[in-house]
Symmetry: C4
Subunit: 369 residues, 4 copies
């Protein structure tokens, strides 16, 4: 682990350098778990390819000396529209785990989403940092347990609830499994009070349908959870939206923000990239709905691209974990600083002095390509 | 060969793992024979690429707790719409050969097609398994021999006759031939009573046209065979259809099912992938005709893709052979189980509780890509 | 060199095997000269890619037992529509050089075009073989020398004159030059009586324009040569046509056949593949004009593809040279036999009993891809 | 360094050979600095790919014996429409640096643009060569310093002022930085009298916006500089235009020429290739405006392609530097000679006797591809 800031600055010239550094440091199986995706990793590759395919149209000679990358959401000012995505089991990477991530984000005035599967309890993390934080919820088999988690998050001071809807079936990268990687077996701290109810399958029943999916979130329970959260006056963001029709229905349920995501290529392989679906979802829900883009961001330039395609802000998953492994809270803060400067540099080259000026005119349309 | 089920489960995390395992176990020339295709292997590559290019649109939050992958065909219930494709000479891979394949399929309640070139006679295989089986017919030079095979299949209890029409000229992969691979020289058991009539070519005659093709199946003899089979009250499926006009003509001849296939890239190289032709053939013959898709399936997700593109069921060739080589009947049964679960997981992620709900709306249209 | 026919048959399973065998046998620089193209070899790659991109639609069940690949041109019967392209300096590959090529083609009843730069004189080659032969003309700086060559070709019994128009500037592959390859310095036998007139360039004159191009064929001299040939009653074919407008103008000049070619990727790099231009040229000149396709043919299936795209026949360059190097006249004959059988097999799988039945319906249209 | 012309001719068969030779000679970090681009080097790759994708339509049989590649600009005759692009710090490659480049261009009667960051002062270079030269201006933080540079350039006899507008933020290739490359720390000779004013950032200010961009060129200062230059009667060319709207606005400001460029892939990564934007910019500003194309040229054939897409002339960056490193002034002169001959050969094969005949008809349109 790197603890000297000068050394970190010398070794990290761009955000993606954290990946290279992490790879040399982490156990091969653990790195494969983080870096990998589901199935043949087609969605994982699509996420990266989608960004590389974009053509940005520079626009020099604009006066951007008063420029800023600040983002305002419900009266909160973020230094840039970048959130740490909810990533499970961060103690695999650093002893301080989510506490370090939270402190890194706080230092740079950006936001963090805590995973249901965090290595420290939501109460511990909330106490350790005064930054903007949201709590990510994986729905539990018993709805009262999900509700209890929401209640705890509200009480601990989380600003929003982020309900993940795209991964009822989770699959660890095949490569990681072949290398012997195993997820921690113990119940994560947040779930210690909610042991999993056992499911008995009849002979002709399916492990997928009658097993896993019988406990999965569906529209009915989601509606109950949203209502429950609204009564507690906690915001509801939905993570894992790719389908424009689903986006529309979620909007009608009154959620506060949509996170367009294919779960970093870790859920349904062959799903389209989230960048590809972003403009369709923006079109479906209109200009006012808050939309975040998750999956595929590897640089500040990618953040600009996401915003030009209709996002208001983005989430950072793998890079966050790499930075945490490389340099703990310092690493996370530096990652966010580098991403912010890369974003600002792209804004400068494209002639945008504020986030509001980023739009589709900076993208060369397909028809022009 | 793996005989321990726990070990098999540890080593096979996805259906395609059988290929990796088989490659380490089989003689290089034999593996090349199975894995290879004709010519430059362009069609072989297209089969795989066609599936990888598809974008599946997830649809979470549907209630699929009552879901099932069962397929019903003429009152027979299959646990999933998956058939073992007819593969010749299975004793090259396992002493129990087609008997093991048949028992593997029976164990998981799926169907099996026996090749004309099986290593055990059709009567032996029928006796060794009570599962749903069909008999695949390569037309013989003398039509009475073909008819005798049909009669024997009916008598032995086969549920359907699968007539292959796409490979009058068969070619072993060049790579396999260079490695010294040779097909068994002896007449296969099913054909022991029908020695090949010799063909004498005149000086200017062509080995292809006046030789091989003079004995090949054509519309006239096919019509006779269909009539003959119908009189015996055995169903007729046609395997090797890529051409929509041919599909239409076959439908008019009253066949019961079409198997869209490019023979796994082993017949005409540069033929399109069967997945590409599938929607065109579905459009040509309408919604009621039973269509199976063969060639290119390597996962349960691919099966979902085939169904969303218009197939009712699929056939598995190479994976079957690999599983047979790796673990005999146990391997075949486990392969089918893994494929079924992969299919079910994809159904769950795309919000489909039954096969009937799988359709083109789960595919992102080209125009959207 | 292979002299045993059984051995040759074992080692050559497809036409392209001659390339592999030649590569092991030839000096690296010489092989690079033959295999290479001009510039970055973009046109060379396009030639191969264009064929690989084509989707052939099989059409089984047709009765082709009376099939044939014979081609008739002005009362001459060729066993297949395949010509040996004019290739210079064949003694680099085999002592018998063009004599061996001519005898190989004669043995299999196909045609051969002799290069102006042949290692044996046109008279010697004509005497050594009774097969169908044409003479290829590179225009000489002095038009009377070109005319003398035409006169000699007519007198020696050549059936046609093939005037090459696409390579006023020839460039040996950079790779070959780096490996030290040099073309033979002596005047080739056909040109011994026509020493090159020397060109003196003024200070500001260009080596390309005032040097090479001042001696190059142009429309005016071409018109004179065509008229001269017609008076001698020898047919005129034009080789090196890619431009549809040029094709039309050549048709109006009364030439007998057009050879669509990018000189095997050895002339203008970044020229389109000849296969790409073929349908445009066919459309420009109509159905009656005889068109041959040169550049990119590596198999009988490619020949089928060329015919389906509008060619009447094809020319074989590199493969011919490889076969000559590997096994002399026997190699050339075997190459032509293998190509013919590959063509026939493709015809059989696509349901074509004669060349006349090969047309665009066997190609899946782009709009369908 | 190669000093023998025969040896140079043997080793340089095409312009790109200078790159290969330079790579063996230069320090790895320095080579990475020259060869590399910004970010993921997507724009760098696009520059090359864009040229490779073009299909040139040959047009033989034209009479081009009177052909020439001469270009005339405001009564000055250049032997070809090729300029040495402004490249900084040339002493990194050769002791004679820009003086050698200038003399190489002069020898072959082509033009050279001197960088603001030249290793010799603009006065020294002007004195050392009588060829056509322009001076490239990077705007200085204090406008009076920029004006002083313009005044000095005019006084020293430069024919035009080339103002670069696309690289307010410059980034050295990540690969070069990882290899330890550092730009020279001393102020370049041209700037010795203009020390950088220091910028103090407040706590919440951005290093990009309030730092770098507060000193960057913008429309207002550019307008002043153009006016200033016009009063001095020195031509103004603008380098770094990709955006058609920007091109139009520059035209309205009365500039004399536009240089379409993405800074060789060294400015905004993911910018489109300059070749892609060229026709759009030509369309925006009409047929009369002088347009040069920079970025991606690696051969004379590429120059032809640029002209056929709407450019009047081109600029050569990396190749110039490689030639300078390989053989000093002799290398630069030879590079320009080779490029000119490659251009002429392409003109000959496409039937163009003068630059005026090069146009879009020599390009196969996308719709035809």
């Amino acid at each position: 682990m790197i603890t000297d800031y000068q050394q970190l600055q010398r070794q990290v010239l761009c955000a993606q350098d954290f990946e290279t550094l992490a790879q040399t440091q982490l156990d091969e199986a653990l790195f494969a778990y983080i870096a990998g995706g589901s199935g043949r990793e087609i969605s994982l590759q699509r996420n990266l390819q989608a960004f590389s395919n974009v053509r940005l149209l520079p626009n020099s000679l604009q006066n951007v000396a008063q420029g800023s990358s600040a983002w305002y959401y419900k009266n909160h000012r973020f230094s840039a529209p970048i959130f740490l995505a909810p990533v499970a089991h961060q103690r695999l990477l650093n002893e301080q785990a989510e506490i370090a991530s939270a402190q890194g984000a706080e230092a740079i005035e950006q936001g963090m989403i805590l995973s249901t599967f965090s290595s420290y309890s939501l109460e511990e993390v909330a106490q350790a940092s005064a930054g903007w934080q949201a709590f990510q919820l994986y729905h539990q088999p018993r709805i009262e347990d999900s509700m209890d988690l929401i209640r705890r998050a509200k009480q601990a001071g989380y600003q929003a609830l982020v309900i993940t809807v795209d991964a009822p079936v989770q699959s660890v990268s095949l490569q990681a499994r072949k290398l012997g990687f195993q997820l921690p077996q113990a119940l994560p701290p947040n779930l210690e009070d909610y042991p999993n109810p056992s499911v008995e399958l009849a002979k002709d029943e399916s492990y997928i349908f009658q097993g896993i999916m019988s406990q999965a979130l569906n529209w009915q329970t989601l509606t109950q959870l949203i209502e429950f959260a609204k009564n507690l006056e906690i915001e509801v963001w939905i993570k894992g939206v790719l389908n424009p029709q689903q986006a529309l229905r979620l909007q009608q349920l009154g959620v506060d923000a949509l996170i367009v995501s294919n779960h970093g290529g870790r859920a349904l392989d062959q799903a389209p990239s989230s960048l590809q679906m972003l403009p369709k979802i923006r079109q479906a829900v209109g200009a006012e709905m808050t939309i975040l883009l998750d999956s595929g961001i590897r640089s500040g330039q990618d953040i600009f691209t996401a915003l030009a395609n209709g996002a208001d802000a983005v989430m950072i998953g793998r890079l966050q974990v790499y930075a945490l492994a490389v340099a703990g809270a310092l690493g996370v803060a530096h990652l966010l600083k580098v991403l912010t400067e890369e974003l600002q540099m792209t804004m400068a080259l494209c002639g945008c002095a504020s986030l509001h000026e980023i739009n589709a005119t900076q993208i060369l349309e397909s028809a022009d390509v």
